[in-house]
């Protein structure tokens, strides 16, 4: 199974995070249409892998979305869309979806994030004898994903992600062009590390 379960530091034990990476997805448009139709079976963050720099960057966005979920400060409808906008350095939500979400006819490789958490407790007025809804298992999620995402699952490693990353695009999105700190670095790998550092910082500062 290529669905990874991730333990992120400082996330309540009640919350579970899964991630996956699919290459050469042939039905990206279909997936996007399911999101637009708010199909409840498709509660995922679908992210265009070409807009992702690293695993750490992705998980930082997941962590931010979880923080907002727990604080009750989500800026979008749900935690999955919040993951997508948490990758953005700006408050423009439509633009964030355009840049980090699926683009019709363009998106090839897709990063998926899925967050599972117990629904909020029923209010006392509701029938307290009703059984607590059972949360989907990792197997359930993988079964649904592998059936609906038509692509090749690969591990969500930095090496795999880097094959999809469109750096010129990211440099523009995170305003990294012409930065003094980057001009000083000659080693390519060190430069990528520094860009990741600045990207995560810009994400953390979104809205300030």
């Amino acid at each position: 199974m290529s669905l990874e379960t991730i333990q992120i530091e400082h996330v309540p034990a009640t919350h579970r995070v899964h991630v996956a990476l699919f290459r050469d997805v042939s039905n990206a448009d279909f997936l996007q249409s399911q999101l637009l139709a708010r199909n409840a079976d498709f509660e995922y963050a679908f992210i265009d892998a070409s807009s992702v720099a690293s695993r750490l960057q992705l998980l930082s966005a997941v962590y931010r979305a979880l923080t907002n979920l727990i604080d009750g400060t989500l800026q979008t409808n749900n935690v999955h869309s919040e993951v997508v906008i948490s990758l953005s350095p700006s408050n423009n939500i439509a633009e964030a979806y355009r840049r980090w979400g699926i683009t019709l006819g363009k998106t090839k490789d897709i990063v998926v994030a899925k967050i599972i958490y117990p629904p909020s407790l029923p209010s006392p007025s509701e029938d307290s004898t009703a059984p607590a809804p059972t949360l989907p298992t990792t197997e359930d999620i993988w079964a649904h994903l592998s059936e609906n995402v038509k692509g090749t699952p690969v591990p969500l490693s930095d090496e795999q992600i880097s094959k999809s990353t469109d750096w010129p695009k990211l440099r523009k999105y995170y305003a990294l062009n012409g930065l003094p700190v980057l001009a000083k670095i000659t080693d390519e790998a060190a430069k990528v590390k520094e860009m990741e550092r600045l990207i995560i910082m810009r994400m953390a500062l979104r809205g300030l």
């Binding site: 034990a13 930082s60 930065l179 003094p180 600045l198 910082m201 953390a204």
Partner: protein, 270 residues
């Protein structure tokens, strides 16, 4: 300021009550907040979490607004510095409403501690120039690196607001650089080695006024003289390196003369 264990157990901020691979470690507790060592995202990524608890003596709404604004301001300054290449920790995450800011963990010790190790226990009025005094190069080099860091900071239009040798870290160089010198001398040399990283931007502001920069330098000069009286005469190296790093330094140093003068007058008046 105190870095020893506090006498009372503080209630952890909410964020640190959730599971992590290692328990949070209280590093420092100041008037404005607490500094914990913990982890960001993975167990292998240490971070510093700065937490500003709410102050019960302040009006709750005002307090929440102040805390939020300060955390946001500190994060913005760190972002600006990182992008300009000023040596400061990167911001990892923040929750201004929750009163916390997570940033890159800087290895090493505060500059204050490094300098004190170098100076050792010799009495202040030791007039005999011994071998260590004869070769002060490692300490002078450190002064230069401090001046360089402050010059880079001022070049970007940021005023630190609380420049002291406690608000700078000495991040050890990879592999250490005591270069074959072993024993006590090697240890001392190592104590003042490392990259200077500026921290604690809680009082930082953005300004391009020479006056503000001069006050920043003056605060450092005074703090240096009172923390390290035996190394006070080496402070001129900080200013020398500052001049090298920052081309508008001459007019700032000129202003510094005025600021010193005012400082003296004030202390004479008591």
């Amino acid at each position: 300021m105190a870095t020893h264990a506090p006498p009372v157990e503080f209630a952890l901020p909410q964020v640190l009550t959730y599971p992590a691979s290692t328990p949070p470690f209280l590093v420092a507790q100041g008037a404005e907040g607490r500094l914990y060592k913990t982890t960001h995202i993975t167990s292998s990524r240490p971070c510093a979490l700065k937490y500003r608890p709410s102050k019960s003596y302040r009006h709750p709404i005002l307090d929440a607004r102040l805390t939020k604004a300060r955390i946001q301001a500190e994060a913005k300054v760190l972002d600006r510095c990182c992008r300009e290449g000023v040596p400061v920790p990167a911001v990892y995450a923040l929750d201004a409403g929750g009163g916390w800011l997570m940033m890159e963990w800087v290895d090493g010790v505060p500059v204050r501690q490094g300098i004190n190790v170098w100076l050792g226990e010799r009495p202040e009025d030791d007039a005999v120039p011994d071998a260590e005094v004869a070769d002060e190069t490692p300490l002078v080099d450190l002064m230069n690196r401090i001046g360089e860091a402050v010059g880079a900071l001022h070049r970007t239009g940021v005023i630190h607001g609380d420049l002291t040798t406690s608000n700078m870290m000495l991040r050890p160089w990879a592999g250490g650089q005591s270069n074959g010198v072993s024993g006590e001398d090697g240890e001392k040399k190592k104590a003042v080695g490392g990259d200077v990283i500026l921290i604690d931007f809680g009082l930082a502001t953005q300004s391009v006024a020479d006056e503000d920069r001069a006050v920043d330098l003056y605060v450092l000069e005074r703090a240096f003289a009172s923390t390290h009286p035996r190394a006070e005469r080496l402070f001129t190296h900080v200013l020398e390196a500052y001049k090298q790093a920052y081309k508008k330094a001459p007019s700032v140093i000129h202003k510094l003369e005025d600021v010193r003068m005012r400082g003296r007058k004030k202390s004479m008046l008591g």
